[in-house]
Subunit: 374 residues, 2 copies
């Protein structure tokens, strides 16, 4: 697709939301509910809130002590995600055809918390990488014993949105783990408690730059005996639409990636923002994000994020329309047959289908479905 109109859209969103600076707003004190709604949530615009906002959290001091954590959670079984690469929910060579890619999910091992912390601190790429994360409201479940250490909601956000968070999730990892580009159907308030997280952000209007394609779902399984991972495609087969772009390709892949994903590499620079200990990022719904982390001195990065329901409104309708355009234009410009027929060999059409399914069902979406939705 000739991207001239899209390029204008990408630039205009940046100009309108961030002016000439292209810098994400930094607030020293929490916004009022009105200010948050008017300037950020309604405009689908991110900001960083300084650490003063969480200074009153016991977690900001207590969680620096591994001993405190292991004692408090001594009897907790938590969901530990194991991969050989540190890339869970990410694209990996297809085990049945190494020239193609699949969407690989981690081996999830219920693990006593003290063991889990040990595994995380000893994570090494190429060996076993452990990441404690489960996007199913795990903080109020598996980690309930820590619930007194943080605010159970972000009060100005709850007041603005008119209700508490639908999910609160805890993340404990080290530099070996990263999250590939994706978006969530939630308003996300992301607090780093220990270490740092490094986000690469793109607005929803950049959807064509992410090259969302369908990949067969696969799952890692890890054997305690052999200490080896096995990766197998799901049976029955299932396709997952996922971003094809990796913002940090290896030097030997860089050129290939740049020629395969020109809209990403030739378009406006993504927003890069580091969230330090105690700081909070407002990550607006539908924004694409890639996340890396730097651990603290003992080798841990710990974060808590609050997922609030988003409004499925005119912005969401505009997004679905935008995402559907590529397939549409190919049909209009290059296909003589009816646009009604959807070829399962045409990833664009599949993406359209997915968008519309997603939309039709959004009201009944379950937490799990939403967390994995594209």
């Amino acid at each position: 697709m000739n991207p001239s109109n899209l390029e204008h859209l990408w630039e205009e969103v940046r100009e309108l939301s961030f002016g000439t600076t292209s810098k994400i707003d930094r607030l020293e004190t929490p916004p009022s509910p009105l200010h948050f709604l008017r300037h950020y949530l309604s405009q689908n615009k991110p900001f960083i809130l300084s650490a003063t906002a969480t200074r009153h959290w016991p977690a900001t001091t207590l969680w620096s002590s591994t001993n405190y954590l292991t004692t408090t959670l001594s009897s907790s079984l938590i969901s530990l995600h194991l991969t050989p690469t540190g890339h869970a929910d990410s694209l990996t060579p297809n085990p049945t055809n190494p020239n193609s890619l699949c969407f690989a999910s981690a081996h999830v091992q219920p693990t006593p918390f003290p063991e889990a912390i040990h595994a995380i601190q000893n994570s090494v790429k190429g060996g076993v990488v452990a990441y404690a994360q489960q996007q199913n409201d795990c903080f109020r479940g598996e980690y309930g014993a820590l619930s007194g250490d943080v605010d159970l909601d972000i009060n100005w956000a709850s007041e603005a949105i008119g209700g508490g968070p639908e999910a609160v999730n805890l993340w404990i990892g080290n530099e070996a783990s990263e999250s590939s580009f994706h978006k969530d159907h939630y308003e996300n308030l992301y607090v780093v408690v220990c270490g740092e997280k490094h986000f690469v952000l793109l607005p929803p209007t950049d959807v064509h730059r992410m090259y969302i394609r369908e990949y067969p779902a696969a799952n890692y399984s890890y054997s305690q005996e052999t200490g080896k991972f096995d990766l197998e495609l799901e049976i029955p087969p299932r396709n997952v639409p996922w971003c094809s772009v990796n913002p940090y390709p290896s030097p030997e892949n860089k050129e290939k990636e740049m020629s395969e994903f020109p809209l990403y590499y030739n378009g406006p620079k993504p927003f890069e923002v580091t969230v330090k200990a105690g700081e909070m990022l407002y990550l607006p719904s539908m924004w694409f994000h890639h996340v890396r982390q730097t651990p603290d001195s003992r080798g841990l990065t710990i974060a808590v994020n609050y997922w609030y329901d988003m409004q499925f409104d005119i912005k969401y309708a505009y997004f679905n329309f935008l995402q559907s355009l590529k397939g549409f234009q190919e049909q209009r410009c290059h296909k003589s047959d009816s646009h009604a027929s959807v070829s399962y060999n045409d990833s664009d059409s599949l993406i359209d289908e997915n968008v519309f399914d997603d939309d039709e069902n959004h009201l009944e979406m379950t937490l799990t479905r939403k967390a994995h939705l594209f």
Copy 2:
């Protein structure tokens, strides 16, 4: 353009904003600033507020007395808009070529208020139709003597938006005057004080259904001596982009209009809403609206509207992208030459140009420019 994706967009906005009822919300009491921001302004979604909200306005009783109005404004000169048809800022046969249309503006006659009221009450289509309206904050200017009779701002809107109205306008007319389809770059709170106003509303996502085309600007001039109107094209020539659709074509034109504007006539039904005396309509920025009126027993419809600045945010960027698509797709699908060249015989390209000019300049827009912008 094949409208299958557009049709989905039109339907989805309706489904998301209005569910299956397709009825505009009706509030019995004013929303809190948070409720207004969260459920209406942020979602670009209209509502009607019941007359209880303006019961405390002296205007709701005082303005029913023509004597009160003429006494209070006995020494005021007001801008009276005169046309032979009751259609100002509207499409009319081109005086130099009756087979084409032009964009005709009214003859604006500074008139002592008591005379103006007399002219309005005696307005007849085909003779002289007088409409007291001037979208330049006229209520706080020409009609300043009435300013104590209404709230000078809508407090919950001012608090939500973070400032007072940029313009407050007064409208006094009768059934002979109507406003053709257009949109404004403002959040609009529209209060009918006497009589009724009948709105036809379409969301911004329906822009292609309005068939916005360029028309040469023309102006009526009225001669007191002859009692006749003259319509002349502006010199130097100036084009105005305007909606081509008339929701109430005469029976003899109906068929022609339906074949000329299929997206309007075959798309989802527009929203029709009547605002009664004392009621307030929240007309979100960028919504297309057509307005007719029914006078009270003495032959007058009186309304006050509050224009608040809109946020030029991601919704606005999406709108500009959507509006630009038609020309773009014609270039992609039907034109082999570069999309960079803009033909001044191609109304689509002109519309795109207009959108982008408008966007580049929106920060410096003057009140007058905004009021006439498409």
